[in-house]
């Protein structure tokens, strides 16, 4: 029985990681950059919803919508100012470092605006909890909504990428920017669109993260951001279903490590499992194997 409870806890935690990882992997897959500021966009999204719902007292729908809109523009703005000028830089590491700068910037802006105090985030989910096995196991409404959103977002993203023109353009850009441009694709526009979608997903992830674990401060996003990065690599970075599977697995491993091995070294165990998986399958669970050209 306790095994089942732990499994459900793991899936709850994992679904949040998966949701964040979807945005992460989307940006990585197309723009080929690790967006270290993703976790902080999540935090900004959560703060937007908090301000609108808890401070102004408006209904959650408006809060979530506002967060999505704000983060979309924020993501596009960050891309335009901090990442785009470096797209043709001599090393891809340059843009990684500005991403870190942006991450610090967002944290400190939030610190100045909202203060350092932790805020208890009121859940935006009004879905009832699911009770199994005569009430001894409960699956919270937040978990159900998070998993459903993950699946819906995953399907929408796949449909978008494979069935629409803009999605095809994204695929083309991710394969070869130069060739895509020659084919008449607006590379800058496509990458901006990618960031817009990725950041909108971050806003949703932020709201659901804080609904499930109601603690919000300017540094809330950074650790889940790193964990989601791990999840995205775990599943094969760039792969959308991989991010989902990676997230869920990471959550389950984390909870099981705490439950059955030791709560003190749970972090170490999670990372050790990641290392072992990557050593066996160096491109993650669903990652593509790219043959090196000579």
């Amino acid at each position: 029985m306790s095994f089942l409870k732990y499994l459900i806890s793991g899936i709850s935690l994992g679904s949040v990681y998966a949701l964040i990882a979807l945005g992460y992997t989307m940006v990585y897959g197309i723009a080929k950059m690790l967006n270290f500021a993703h976790g902080d966009v999540i935090m900004i999204g959560a703060f937007t919803t908090y301000t609108i719902c808890s401070t102004l007292g408006l209904p959650p729908v408006i809060g979530v919508l506002a967060a999505v809109i704000l983060c979309t523009f924020l993501g596009m703005g960050i891309e335009r100012v901090a990442y785009k000028p470096l797209r043709k830089a001599a090393s891809p590491l340059a843009v990684l470092i500005t991403a870190i700068g942006v991450s610090y910037l967002l944290q400190n802006i939030a610190l100045l605006i909202f203060g350092a105090n932790t805020k208890a985030f009121a859940s935006v989910v009004s879905f009832p909890a699911l009770e199994l096995a005569d009430g001894s196991i409960t699956v919270s409404g937040e978990t159900i909504v998070t998993i459903l959103s993950c699946i819906v977002i995953m399907i929408c993203l796949m449909l978008f990428i494979h069935k629409t023109k803009a999605g095809q353009a994204m695929l083309a850009v991710s394969e070869d920017k130069g060739a895509a441009q020659l084919m008449g694709i607006n590379v800058n526009g496509t990458i901006a669109l990618t960031f817009a979608i990725g950041s909108a997903l971050a806003a949703i992830a932020g709201v659901l993260l804080c609904s499930a674990y109601p603690s919000l401060n300017p540094y809330t996003g950074s650790m889940p951001g790193i964990k989601a990065f791990v999840a995205a690599v775990f599943g094969g970075i760039g792969s959308i279903p991989g991010a989902f599977i990676g997230g869920i697995l990471l959550g389950i491993i984390e909870i099981f490590a705490k439950a059955y091995i030791s709560s003190q070294v749970a972090d170490a165990i999670v990372f050790a499992v990641l290392i072992i998986v990557l050593l066996i399958k160096p491109t993650g669970i669903l990652g593509r194997n790219v043959q090196e050209k000579v």
């Binding site: 105090n117 932790t118 603690s215 401060n217 889940p224």
Partner: protein
């Protein structure tokens, strides 16, 4: 391009060196001639622990302003300069050196234990008086010039174990602590050793770390499976608020027992559902909703100025400034005295003064730097503290 780079870096580096050297000479000139006591504060005002550092900074500023408005101490004013240490021992030493350049004569800090220990070494070298509001590790007062306002870790852990045992609060106790935090592990250890001689049994000891403190379902589940009827939480209120929420979500309602870090559970987390904290017990020296004049006045003034309800860090800091004031009055040191003379004077005076502060009445210090004040056990009832 390379030349340009070189030029920029040389220019930057030389500008920095010049400004550094400039700072140094300024400070040495203005150091002792002013007619105010210069108090240097150190604590994290950015980063994950910013809530604690900012509370100390705000309350110290409040106390300093009050004292100055009332005419100062022996006719001298207080001046406060608070520096950020980002919860990093090395940055804390940098902050101390910055304050030394500014001409600080008394150090208030560091706020957190690890940083505080690193700074004690430096204040010892310079023989500068150091009073930490909240550095609770034993080594925070390792030298004769170090004093503290809060309880030490062993005092809290042992006192908690004794309180639980003697009042028969529980027969089976679970612990959830932060294994990556100095404060939490310190209390955890002293609690376990104190529990050995008590009537209750520790049935579950589970940890979390700074990197994974969102999900506590496993720790709570284990406590529940082990049949614990009380969970001891030697942690800060932010994590405690999540634990209470999650325990409520899984329908588990043991007694919860916290220490001074738990103070703030009612006021420190904005928008927190206070009904979740109903029945939580904690050992704390301070209660923001106490009805004595001093607390009421302090809370009102703090709230007006900073828009927040002060926590225990703020109270400790406020008391620290008033303790410094009392010690200055007792010893009669002047701002024109050397740093070392001020330190000697305050050291001598600190073991003689007794102050009625927010965190206790008639607080006195012994020469090791420990305050003697009794932790008060309170229980949360109807959204407020109630003495037990």
């Amino acid at each position: 391009m390379k030349k340009f780079n070189k030029f920029v870096s040389v220019a930057l580096a030389s500008a920095m060196v010049l400004s550094m050297a400039g700072c140094g000479s300024d400070a040495s000139q203005s150091g002792s001639s002013s007619d105010a006591f210069k108090i240097g504060g150190i604590g994290p005002t950015t980063g994950g622990a910013a809530a604690y550092g900012l509370a100390v900074q705000n309350a110290a500023q409040l106390a300093v302003d009050e004292i100055n408005a009332a005419g100062g101490v022996n006719g001298y004013k207080f001046e406060l300069n608070f520096q950020d240490d980002e919860l990093d021992a090395e940055k804390s030493v940098n902050a101390y050196n910055t304050l030394k350049d500014w001409g600080a004569q008394i150090i208030l800090g560091s706020v957190t234990s690890g940083c505080c220990i690193a700074v004690t070494d430096k204040t010892k070298e310079d023989n500068m008086f150091q009073l930490t509001p909240s550095g609770s590790a034993v080594a925070c007062t390792q030298y004769d010039n170090n004093f503290r306002v809060c309880f030490s870790d062993p005092a809290q852990g042992a006192a908690s174990a004794q309180y639980i045992g003697e009042n028969g609060l529980a027969s089976k106790v679970a612990i959830i602590y932060d294994s990556s935090d100095t404060y939490s592990t310190g209390i955890y250890e002293s609690f376990v050793s104190g529990a050995a001689s008590q009537s209750f049994e520790i049935v579950s000891e589970e940890a979390f770390t700074a990197d994974s403190k969102t999900d506590f379902s496993v720790q709570l589940q284990k406590a529940q499976d082990a049949g614990a009827d009380l969970i001891f939480l030697p942690i800060y209120y932010q994590e405690a608020s999540l634990i209470l929420t999650q325990a409520n979500g899984m329908g588990y309602a043991p007694k919860f027992f916290g220490v001074d870090g738990m103070d703030g559970i009612l006021t420190g987390v904005d928008n927190f559902d206070k009904s979740l904290a109903e029945g939580v017990m904690l050992l704390t020296p301070f209660a923001a909703d106490a009805t004595d004049d001093m607390t009421v006045k302090f809370v009102a003034a703090y709230q007006e100025k900073f828009g927040e309800i002060p926590n225990q860090f703020a109270a400790d800091s406020y008391d620290a400034i008033y303790a410094i004031k009392a010690a200055i009055e007792k010893s009669g040191v002047k701002p024109s005295d050397s740093v070392s003379d001020i330190c000697e004077g305050l050291k001598g005076a600190f073991v003689e003064i007794s102050i009625d502060g927010l965190t206790g009445e008639g607080i006195v210090w012994d020469a090791t730097g420990e305050p003697n004040k009794a932790p008060k056990a309170v229980i949360i009832e109807n959204g407020a503290y109630k003495a037990m």
